[in-house]
Symmetry: C2
Subunit: 226 residues, 2 copies
DNA sequence: AAATATATGTTGGAAATCCAACGTGAGAGG
DNA sequence: CCTCTCACGTTGGATTTCCAACATATATTT
């Protein structure tokens, strides 16, 4: 447990708190520790929506499956990321999504009702926690706004390039790594993996970008004619 | 102003507060009143992101336009709905979206920084307001989850039917009205208006649904064979 | 290293979308 | 009543996606 405090202190939920404060809060919140192996669910669609999770190690994805079994990736979770708070804070009974570990992972599970209803003098950091959750939800809203922007592009190529340009901007460099493999990226952008792969091939051949695995580099566009 | 208190008491932001409490809060928050005519922007992409709006009358849409001028509708705002809090609470400098009035509308504008930083003894309802905003953001996250679910469907027909089935469920009846016209629905679902119209025609002819304007009725599917 | 599994790239025909153009009908205003 | 406008429906051909199948590359295991 101790080894994961560096992750928790960087976690959005606990910003502004010291290690001892966090340790005390985890007690208040009834935190439970869980190990999940690669490919196994942390939550399944239809599960009660009262728990909030924090990824301590490994990685996970929030996914939805439609009637035909098509997978849609809603968000990609890395160590320090939390998940599920939107559903419990909105008062939902059942989860409308699943959370799947994509690697062997450790997660921390908190009871959201304790967070929201805990009387504030029990723990000095209660209101700070609330504000951190609020800011986290606002950021997740932003992330959805971006995802919708990618998905609203007409062609596979435009969805891909809009995403990659955003990644370059966010990471502050034309060279960057993305947090997922090709299939996951395709399911996140809402495109066919094979079509996306074909577009990547074209973009590479035209010199617009280079990529290998999760590494990408966007190249400046050559001006022709002018 | 007085005439809009019924709207404000039903507004998610002010749940649990009486009319007098709200009146006092509006003072604290430096509320400003604004009239916007049909088609005019309330906010434009790039504007400073510190204001939160509440629709008092009329209606508005949160929209994004891409490089080619394609419009994407992120959410549809009706009286009582608030907008912009995700961007200010996430600490964004500039708005990444525009908010456009679709009818002559009245809106109330609040300064979000006052909401978040206002010292809590100034106003008893400060922490309640924070919790209301938190719940509102969680609900907006849910709304995005749903929108993404519609947009993730492969065909225009599936996007449309997934949306309509959700509406019927939310409104608790197979007969319902949607809060927008065909073009807006198409821009919300991320489909071509003409293709959507064609699908609606097919669905009508097959007896699967009836519609006129914003009114819809979903009909049970006939079982063949068995 | 060999064998296996998994990830990624490539291809071609069927299906769906995209787009522009046009037809129709309801409502607004003169 | 007429005209104008605007929302909605319809159509057809160019473009793009979709899907299954296969080829290649990379990682993992034995």
């Amino acid at each position: 447990m101790e080894r994961y405090f560096p992750v928790l202190t960087r976690c959005a939920l606990f910003q502004g708190m010291g290690q001892e404060d966090i340790k005390a809060m985890l007690g208040c919140l009834g935190a439970r520790f869980a190990s999940v192996s690669k490919g196994a669910p942390v939550f399944l669609e239809g599960d009660p929506a009262q728990l909030v999770g924090i990824v301590l190690s490994g990685g996970a994805q929030v996914v939805q499956e439609d009637y035909y079994g098509n997978r849609s990736v809603l968000s990609i979770l890395q160590p320090g990321d939390s998940f599920g708070e939107a559903f419990s804070c909105a008062g939902l009974e059942e989860l409308p999504v699943s959370v799947i570990a994509v690697q062997d992972s450790q997660v921390l599970l908190l009871d959201c009702r304790r967070i929201l209803t805990m009387c504030s003098h029990t723990c000095h950091f209660h209101s700070l926690l609330i504000e951190n959750i609020l800011q986290g939800l606002a950021r997740k809203n932003l992330a959805f706004t971006q995802k919708v922007r990618y998905m609203s592009q007409k062609t596979t190529r435009d969805k891909l390039m809009t995403y990659l340009l955003d990644q370059a901007k966010q990471q502050g460099s034309a060279e960057f790594v993305i947090p997922c493999d090709r299939q996951t990226l395709a399911d996140y952008l809402g495109v066919e993996r094979s079509a996306m792969s074909a577009e990547l091939g074209k973009l590479k051949r035209s010199g617009r970008l280079d990529t290998k695995g999760s590494w990408f580099r966007l190249n400046p566009v050559e001006q022709h004619g002018l």
